[in-house]
Amino acid sequence: MNYQLEVSNITKSYGDLKANDTVSLNIKDSSIHALLGENGAGKSTLVKIIYGSLMPDSGEMRWGGNSYSPKNPFEARENGIAMVFQHFSLFESLTVEENIILGLDGVGLNQNFTDEILKYSKQYGLDVNPQQVVGDLSVGARQRVEIIRCLLQNPKLLIMDEPTSVLTPQEVSDLFVTLKKLAADGCSILYISHKLEEVREICSEATILRGGRLVQSCVPQDHSQKELAEMMIGKKLTELARSKINVGSEIFSINNLSKKSDDLYGVDLENINLTIRQGSIVGIAGVAGNGQDELMELLIGEKSSGDGVLSFNGQDVGLLGSHERRQLSMFFIPEERLGHGAVPDMSLDENMLLSRPDSSGMTSSGVIDWSSVASYSEKVIDDFNVQTPSSKMLAKSLSGGNLQKFMVGRELIRNPELLIVSQPTWGVDAGSANNIHQSLISLADNGSAILIISQDLDEILSLCEQIHVLSEGKLSEAVDMKNNGLEKISQLMVGGES
């Protein structure tokens, strides 16, 4: 068997923490190889070592049979290793073509690259316009730009760090077609993901890491999703189930909400109606970009929705700001973690305090009681298994999944009467997602109402009793799940009539 890349016994420590502890990984020629693990399992560290951004403390690598120890990403690229980053490394103010040239070594500006870009664009079904400014592109299009940038280096190994976490289902299936074609053309792919169903769909091997150590290398199709998830987290997954569904009286309603978007590329919301009862979990499914962001802004109170359209416990809340809504026990977890959900340059403690209503006991007469704040954040860190050295760390220093766990926990420990959450498990690994789901369920079991807006249909199906679909700014009626419900949801998601 020929291996393109052999990694043996790599160890990398940060102080006392062993991010990688004698990890080995072998990638075959022309294969799609999955790298699985929870947040903080050491996937990123390993990948950075392969890509030359980090130097290992010990261990060795072989590339195409020869000894390989890159000192920087340039050397990795010279050898034919390319990488698509999780947080895209694109420059918004530059054009697609300029962006692509930037990632290519030894290419000047005088060469005309447009044809070359279009060639790859055509060959692998990656639709881009070289002269467009990247800032105006959708997330999916940006990823296509990144992939083309990598392909122009004729890589023998393409590393993809959670490529599907921001894509719509259609974009995901387009991406898979591209990846399979690439592998068939001789380019191996190292595919990092939390999404086990995807891994089972396109990967032929999988390497699983946990706590910086190698758990197992296996063929993902030989195991069920649940088994893979359990290998990742090292313990059994809890089955999700509502112990008691105790639906009480109506707590929140949206009445004939229509709103034109201020944004050029935004979606106008049209006549949205929704009722939520105590103790129920309501889901809004739909493909991204169908008005989710616009709806969330109005629900949170970042933008005013006007008189008489939002009612919480009989009170009109449409004109209240988000802080005032929190005082009434409406809590929110927005999708964008850095910027909307947390202040990147502030510590977890400070972020904890910022979203609290005045009555939280963290302040007395306006003076902050830091030890009380810290005890709250430490409780969240423990309960939700947030991987961080302390609650004094800056929000931006946490990985996306870890920060998400912190933000979900921050709102959940308040026992809100109503929790509105967008993409609760976006970028979160299976074990922690399970944990978050379990917490949402027990919150509802205790009588709180929850509204979940998510693109992850499995998540909606497993949690929600009442499911609506948002499509082109219109919200469907609750879908009757007994009668071909799933089929109806799919139809609604792609914009068909039910």
């Binding site: 950075k48 030359g52 951004s53 980090l54 920087n72 990403p73 340039f74 690229r77 980053f85 947080h87 895209f88 490394s89 694109l90 420059f91 918004e92 103010s93 530059l94 300029e98 962006n99 040239i101 930037l102 990632g103 290419v107 000047g108 500006l109 005088n110 400014v133 990247v134 800032g135 105006d136 944004d263 050029l264 220093s397």
Partner: protein, 309 residues
């Protein structure tokens, strides 16, 4: 208006705007790399002093300009070291640099306040410079004036026609992404800051080597701040620096000539114009950019880059 008066005004404007062009084009490159250096005034005054001292002792204008260039670079290297390696706040460090430059030059220049030097002369090309009208306007300027225009062209060419320039712009747009694909953010910024210092130094030297043959404390008189405003006025586009500098320089010259023509407008109003224009440009830029991806203001301007991997 007679011909010689017109020619005098044009030459006056070119003399007034050249120091601004030098300082602003240097700062433009610095800001394109994502660094805000508010120390322009301080770097200019150090350049003015060093140029003067070397000209006084050697009488060699090449050495004088070169000394000013090195002086500006040296003082900017302090800023570069502090902001790029010790990650200090750029605004505070830049302000400190200006204060330091003003104080240092006043101190080091004490012995020279009574002295005069030989100014750098405008060139005279036989035949060409003698062409009526065109000759004095195009072929008889001070050599540093031509150099200033050349620098603007070179900066434009570098930024938009070379790979290195593209990398520099990308660092100003998103330094984390530039770092991730393996470009050395700190090295590019360090070099850009040194270039900015060199240009500010030459711009300062123009004041003491071309405009007046003396050295005086505070002789930059706020030109470093106008240069900073000019970069915004130019919306970070090199050639617009020339336009802005001529406008700003022109206002200075007009102030002088307005008195000659007995136009009754208070000098204070004219002095306000450059700043007013900068504010108007800023607002109109914002309006024009509404709902569009910003392609001019460097997104990382003033932000500290701290590599995490």
């Amino acid at each position: 208006m007679n011909e010689s008066l017109f020619i005098n005004i044009i030459i006056g404007i070119s003399i007034a705007s050249t120091p601004l062009i030098f300082a602003a084009i240097g700062e433009l490159l610095v800001e394109r790399s994502g660094v805000l250096n508010l120390g322009v005034e301080g770097m200019m005054i150090v350049g003015a002093l060093l140029g003067f001292i070397v000209q006084f002792h050697t009488g060699n204008p090449f050495l004088a300009v070169f000394a000013a260039l090195l002086g500006g670079m040296a003082i900017s290297s302090i800023f570069a070291f502090l902001t790029q390696f010790l990650l200090t706040n750029q605004v505070a460090t830049g302000l400190a640099l200006t204060l330091f430059g003003l104080g240092f030059s006043a101190f080091a220049g004490r012995g020279y306040t009574e002295e005069t030097i030989v100014l750098i002369k405008a060139i005279h090309i036989p035949v060409l410079s003698d062409i009526p009208f065109i000759g004095p306007l195009v072929f008889s300027m001070n050599p540093l004036v031509y150099l200033a225009f050349l620098m603007v062209y070179l900066v434009w060419w570098f930024l938009f026609k070379t790979k290195q320039g593209l990398i520099l712009r990308s660092i100003g747009d998103n330094h984390d992404a530039a770092h991730a694909i393996g470009h050395n953010v700190v090295r590019y910024r360090f070099m850009a800051i040194l270039f900015g210092g060199a240009m500010a130094g030459v711009g300062g030297a123009f004041l003491s080597l071309v405009q007046v043959p003396i050295w005086g404390e505070d002789m930059t008189a706020g030109r470093g701040w106008i240069a900073l405003g000019l970069v915004v006025f130019a919306s970070w586009q090199p050639f617009r620096i020339i336009l802005g500098a001529i406008l700003f320089g022109g206002i200075t010259v007009l102030q002088l000539h307005a008195q000659g023509f007995d136009i009754r407008i208070s000098a204070q109003y004219l002095s306000m114009l450059p700043y007013l224009a900068t504010i108007i440009i800023l607002v109109s830029l914002r309006i024009r950019l509404k709902n569009k991806t910003n392609r001019t203001v460097p997104n990382c301007l003033g932000r500290i880059f701290h590599s995490t991997s």
